[in-house]
């Protein structure tokens, strides 16, 4: 029986080390404030305390921009950690943290990305610090002297000419709220120093990125840092890059003992969220429905620290073009600092916000043209051999098939009233590298992979692929937890890339092993985009999907009922069928939450709904009639599906409501917004 059913699986928050202390954090109540003084005199003697001066010599860290300190001497968001305590029990640590008295000098705060880019806006990071170090594809392009930490551009064709050629032009502005990943298991990490080496047990999707960033922070060779990644009780992007690890590592060094941190639910809401965004779309078409020009402007609010905001802004930018043939495209996508908690990796990685804008605008355009939204998309959707706005040629794309399957599932053509569609393309981390090792054992094999388990069942997928390649039973394949000392390198477990990349690496490793005892395989996918032109290879293959929604609407209260939700996702080849179904279903439900009720609420930079009653996640009673397809093709590559069915759900619902007269431009589509739109 699966250990997750019998409760025998041990999670990252359950790691215990002999002699360990527990951490608690002192957090800024202000969105922007200088730490003037930290008075720790009331803290009991058996607690270890750490204040900004204790870690100032370490400099800064950050996965794409090195803009974070271990403890903030200037707090840049409500919840920013300004001091830390370690004590023998969690309760003692929390009590001690409450006894730390911090004096602040408040600074002007900026709480919206449009305000942050306006002239005269206070600068949140006056000394911009760009980072080059990391196995990440992104070249960061800050705009000096502003709160823009990265701008991504696509320049394809000549949009002025394109719009001049257009018979119809529509333009609209859309907003998406911040969202909480809300994994059921909170963030957790344990740090222990042994003979000058740092060992970390962390619930993380990015063991090698984390190791690299910490090595830079501590001035250590990477080999002197070990990151072990136990399974997580969910993550969805929350547990990526350096999160708690620097804090526990510094506390552990100070205490001379291991230190563990586990966040409480309220802290989760000020740690890492989904980027709120403003996206403006302008599309021009000929009267027959051929798209000729498109402009997409994105302001991704990356909050107090960049984290992977540059990467998200880039992906948001090109996903906003959509899976269409458009000769003239301009995209400008900005990652903007504000004094909100940082935005970071969130299932969908920027696609959700721009696809909401792009696909809703398509329906507006269809309305202006007098063409069915389905027909407008069919006329323009990318096929094999077409060129995308990045200059890359599409191959193995099935957008039209997914779109048609979704439309058919809800009977769109027979009666489109109350129904809406969305088709999307989303990229996979390019470039990247995955290595894997396989060893024979007396009873089977051990496969070492740094792919981290967070519920997507990647270990079982690896077992299934190994069993098939090696001619054994899946149960004979052991897949230990990722461990940077023992697992070969992998870029990270994000972007729905693991089954595909590890599967290819595994095939190499098995070939390498032959009849021997062990084998090693490495695969890379090469490419990347020029951040100034957006030309190059965004993705060596594309995640493709479509969704359709059938809704009904209570016109007096604005409440939407989803009657039927369908997603068609291109899977290429399904390895782990129950796992794949669950990923589609889970993504669709997360999309439903984003569509109808998920949004972090802020007042003066404070999160006002930092608990699971005031912030709603979908429950059993929210599940509509839910169907989906996993589209396969003989001989096709495995295509990741961990995220694809999330971004198309909100536009499908939004377009369905628009067909009923409620044109909402802001997510979530609350009943109040529907009434305002009617």
């Amino acid at each position: 029986m699966d250990p997750r059913v019998t409760a025998d699986l041990r999670y990252s928050c359950e790691v215990e080390r002999p002699g360990m202390l527990h951490a608690a954090f002192v957090r800024s109540p202000h969105p922007h404030a200088r730490v003037v003084a930290v008075d720790t005199s009331a803290v009991p003697g058996d607690a270890v305390v750490m204040v900004p001066a204790d870690v100032a010599h370490l400099g800064r860290y950050g996965c794409q921009v090195k803009d974070q300190r271990v403890l903030a001497d200037v707090a840049r968001h409500v919840g920013d950690v300004v001091a830390a305590v370690a004590a023998p029990t969690r309760e003692a640590a929390r009590s001690a943290a409450r006894l730390v008295d911090v004096a602040y000098e408040q600074l002007p705060a900026v709480l919206d990305p449009l305000d942050a880019v306006a002239r005269g806006a206070p600068l949140i990071h006056p000394q911009a610090a760009a980072s080059a170090r990391d196995a990440v594809s992104i070249d960061v392009r800050p705009i000096a002297g502003t709160n823009v930490c990265h701008r991504f551009r696509i320049r394809h064709g000549d949009v002025a000419r394109g719009f001049a050629d257009a018979d119809v032009v529509v333009e609209e502005v859309f907003r998406t709220a911040a969202a909480a990943h809300a994994p059921m298991e909170p963030h957790a990490a344990v740090a222990e120093w042994r003979d000058g080496r740092l060992v970390l047990w962390s619930g993380t999707q990015t063991p090698f990125n984390t190791r690299a960033d910490l090595a830079g922070l501590f001035g250590l060779p990477e080999q002197d840092i070990r990151v072990i990644a136990p399974p997580m009780g969910g993550s969805f992007g929350a547990k990526t890059f350096v999160r708690l690890e620097a804090l526990v590592a510094c506390l552990a060094r100070r205490a001379g003992r291991p230190v563990k941190a586990v966040l409480d639910r309220g802290e989760e809401f000020v740690t890492l969220n989904r980027h709120p965004a403003v996206v403006r779309v302008r599309i021009g078409a000929r009267s027959g429905g051929t798209l000729v020009a498109k402009e997409v402007d994105c302001w991704a609010d990356t909050g107090a620290y960049a984290d992977c905001g540059p990467g998200v802004a880039t992906k948001m930018g090109y996903a906003g073009v959509g899976p269409y043939r458009i000769p003239h495209v301009r995209v400008d996508s900005l990652a903007v600092y504000t004094n909100l908690p940082p935005g970071g990796a969130f299932r969908g990685y920027g696609a959700t916000q721009s696809v909401w804008a792009s696909e809703r605008t398509m329906d507006l355009l269809a309305g202006e043209l007098g063409i069915s939204p389905l027909e407008l998309r069919r006329r323009n959707v990318l096929r094999d051999g077409d060129t995308f706005a990045t200059g890359e040629v599409m191959r193995d794309v099935h957008f039209e098939e997914c779109l048609q399957a979704a439309a058919d599932a809800v009977g769109y053509e027979a009666d489109p009233r109350g129904k809406g569609l969305c088709v999307l393309l989303k990229g996979m981390q390019t470039p990247s590298r995955a290595e894997i090792a396989v060893e024979r054992t007396p009873v089977g094999y051990v496969v070492r992979s740094a792919s981290c388990e967070m519920g997507q069942d990647v270990r079982q997928s690896i077992r299934l692929m190994a069993a098939q390649m090696l001619g054994c039973e899946p149960g004979q394949v052991e897949v230990p937890d990722p461990d940077t000392d023992r697992s070969p390198f992998d870029t990270r477990t994000t972007s729905s890339r693991s089954t595909y990349m590890m599967g290819r690496a595994l095939a190499e490793a098995v070939r390498d092993m032959g009849d021997g005892e062990r084998g090693h395989g490495e695969v890379r996918n090469e490419g990347g985009l020029d951040p100034d032109t957006g030309q190059g290879v965004a993705s060596t293959h594309w995640h493709q999907g479509a969704a359709a929604a059938h809704v009904s609407l209570d016109l007096e209260t604005g409440r939407t009922t989803v009657e039927h939700l369908h997603a068609s996702v291109y899977a290429g080849r399904v390895v782990n069928r129950p796992g794949a179904e669950l990923q589609n279903e889970g993504s669709m439900l997360m999309g439903l939450g984003t569509a109808l009720f998920e949004g972090i609420e802020f007042a003066d930079g404070q999160v006002t709904n930092a608990n699971l009653s005031d912030y709603n996640v979908p429950a059993a009673g929210d599940v509509p009639r839910l169907t989906h397809d996993l589209v396969e093709r003989d001989g096709a590559d495995v295509h990741g599906l961990g995220e694809t069915a999330l971004p198309p759900v909100p536009p499908a619902i939004g377009n369905a409501l628009a067909s009923l007269g409620a044109h909402v431009t802001e997510l979530p589509i609350t009943p109040e917004r529907v009434l305002e739109a009617l």
């Binding site: 309220g266 209260t557 409440r559 939450g593 912030y615 929210d622 109040e672």
Partner: protein, 263 residues
Amino acid sequence: MGPDSLEEALALRAERGDEATVLAGGTFLGILMNQGFLAPAALLSLGRVVELAGIDVVDGELRLGAMATHRSVEDSDAVRSGWPVLARAFSLVASPRVRNAATVGGVLADADYASDPPAMLAALDARAVLRSPRGDRAVGVGELIQGYYETCIEPDELLVEVRVPAQPERAAYRKFRSRSSEDRPCVAVAAVRGERLRVVVGAVAETPQDFPDLCDGSPDEVAARYAERIEPLSDARGSAAYRRRVIAAEVRRAVEEVSWTRA
């Protein structure tokens, strides 16, 4: 302190007053303690006072012990047959797990504005019995609940029982959620048509909104008056302006539900 008789519980309450926090089901108190809002110096737990857990009908009047759980109210044959709208209102609270612990007395004493039972009990003209060494007094829900998390319960009193007169046949409870299926209500409406119509709107303001003087007229008229009279609050579930619009719709619907005899 875990007394096992009502007499002992009352004595402890009189002795310690508000210095000992009364613990019923713990679903509200537990939240306050877990969030660090309350660190009670002492707890007076009523969990073992079996005399308080009963559900009885005496002379046609329903008597719910203060420690009767929401689940026992929803499951009770007596309540389902004689007070079906009350069984329904209790059954809509949260989840079975919460209802296994949350109590009749607790939900009234907590005076949480977003709770369901108080509005329904008010519409049914229920009275809460408050007992102290000075004797008993029975107060209506409107007198009991005075503000956010504030009641008229004196430091030497325990809420021991809720008494509900016979339920008229035409009664309805509507719970409008603006977000997930598990959300607390944005607007809740209890409507009862006995000799007169009575409408109580919950979850929209500090206290249940009960205006007998507004209840003559068509469903539309009653609804419009309630929407105008109430000063709704804004919270995660909706703004004041939005609530006004929903109050108008949901009050009208509730009044319509009780305006027709059963087919």
